[in-house]
Subunit: 261 residues, 3 copies
Amino acid sequence: MDVYSILEKVMAQKPLVHHLTNWVTIYDCANIVKVLGASPVMAHAREESGDMAGLASSLVLNIGTLTPEFIESMKIAAKSANKKGIPVVLDVCGAGATKLRDDKSFELLDQVKIDVIKGNASEIARIAGENVKTKGVDSVEVEKNLIELARHLAGERNATVVITGKEDIVADKTRYFIVKNGHEMMMHVVGTGCMAASVIGTFSAVHKNLAEAAASALSVYGIAAELAAKESKGPATFKEKLFDNIYRLNKETVERMKKVE
Amino acid sequence: MDVYSILEKVMAQKPLVHHLTNWVTIYDCANIVKVLGASPVMAHAREESGDMAGLASSLVLNIGTLTPEFIESMKIAAKSANKKGIPVVLDVCGAGATKLRDDKSFELLDQVKIDVIKGNASEIARIAGENVKTKGVDSVEVEKNLIELARHLAGERNATVVITGKEDIVADKTRYFIVKNGHEMMMHVVGTGCMAASVIGTFSAVHKNLAEAAASALSVYGIAAELAAKESKGPATFKEKLFDNIYRLNKETVERMKKVE
Amino acid sequence: MDVYSILEKVMAQKPLVHHLTNWVTIYDCANIVKVLGASPVMAHAREESGDMAGLASSLVLNIGTLTPEFIESMKIAAKSANKKGIPVVLDVCGAGATKLRDDKSFELLDQVKIDVIKGNASEIARIAGENVKTKGVDSVEVEKNLIELARHLAGERNATVVITGKEDIVADKTRYFIVKNGHEMMMHVVGTGCMAASVIGTFSAVHKNLAEAAASALSVYGIAAELAAKESKGPATFKEKLFDNIYRLNKETVERMKKVE
């Protein structure tokens, strides 16, 4: 898969990536889109979320600090995105922790077209119908074959499914990828999961095959993390270097380091 | 213009700068005020936004993640500021992108006294009545003489008008400044535009002539950016060094580097 | 007091620390919990704040950007925490600045059980009934013996009371600690006060004696700040190094540097 060519399209087309996301990592989600060379926007008012999605090339939803009203704005944005035919990425952040998160995740999946469903192992297991209990927004161990889980959910929801973890899994109805880029330090800083969804949203804005877009996004993101880890002395310098390294990525680095199967 | 003397007044008086701003860059807006030596506060509840403005020396409004309810709190704060006679800065973030942003920008300009109107080229063009379409919160090219545009709007709204860009324009009814400080790296990191409004708000809190205050603010901010760029390897180290360099600014550096015409 | 043993328990037990906090420093509050080795979660919807507190090992409340509706969600979360018997930390951020902040602080203290009351000198003085006027969220001088103030409030509210400042004071009904760790640079960056509450919340999650937990938390946090200051050139590098140094703390460093009396 030509991972770098998708990043090149991002830099050339500078797509507008609309977000309705959580209040914890909202800056990081915007900034990762910016350092990729694209254009982030965050607009959550129900009075404009549909209009803004109408200007955008993709839409990223994240339920990390959801309220019922916020979910209604997400639906308005997603319906506008569906109508325009741009991809919608949903990060089911914290699914499996509370009834509200489960209910609203299913509501979104049932009422609008979600093109990419993304979460950690216990979040995706919950969305696939398993009886697991997520620890807040952190994953717990899941006693299942995760590739099977992703493929099953992809078929059921007619979507691309992404499970992030030590190795990331990306599956659609017909095939799957394993992305082995990334670094353990990503687990020690808040926001790396949310940013992954934004990178996927950005790549999805310029590349029609969403499984390829998502796998390439995670590879590129993971490569930058590997480079950042070499320059850092802890989680905060790591995060700073992660942004710098995404900004500095080039063809040689990406082609040499990519680990997508 | 004695740019440094205004910064000195900020450090000596430590003004309280009240914000009703967006949820993406709210931390950066607070922190830039803090590293300047002043005191930021962010209070958006309608039940206290007026009281807090009554304690403050200036008010910064930013519609980046507006809702109709949030705009109502802004009006309460602005009316309190108007009554107290402290300056009100409005960042028309994303004007030209959606109807909601246009409508609410005009509503604020019509219903309260705005002392400084600040935006990028396409945002200000929209507020001046031009038919431009902003790309989310990022500027698009405007086929107009921007200095004329700023002066016209300044006269029409009886306000100081700031257009940020490669060169910043600051105009009031009687004169204008061009600020040539700054660095290209500011375009590659989220929040530099919002922070500019906060720096302007901070300088406006201690210096009565608002065109001078705004031009000095942008010069000082741009000088710190030029210094930061020399120490950075990408947008994230740049942003960190920007804060450090603002904190470390001194008379010699500011006087030597200022480029205000 | 065996400060390090409490940090060791945090790293071993990885408690879930639930927050309803302000929108300015929410990321930093989450991230400081994460780099300590614990698990932060931020969930403010009234429909889930009680459920999430039911999963957690402690609850941190911060009124920095309060609204009346947000305070209602805090009460739901606190009642759930009280029922479960987990500690509740309240940061009375900005008490003394506006009537809303005073009223809502007292409402929380009267209607739910708050186990740790934390603020700067003027905030705590206000909560203890003194007639002081806080400058936004920054402290003003208080003409009182702060140790007496803390002990009095601790007795009155049957809680542990924390006053942060150049030296931090921690008091309960029977004794008090003075924590002399920390660094002046903490005053020049937004969020260090809010993060202190999150560190206290994290330590309180694993150690029953809350005065010991709070004093240990502030010592550990201050030690990391002292180490960070040595590596930094300004407030932004300081903050980055603060996170890195918390992540890297070890027994030798903590035991050698702790200054708790």
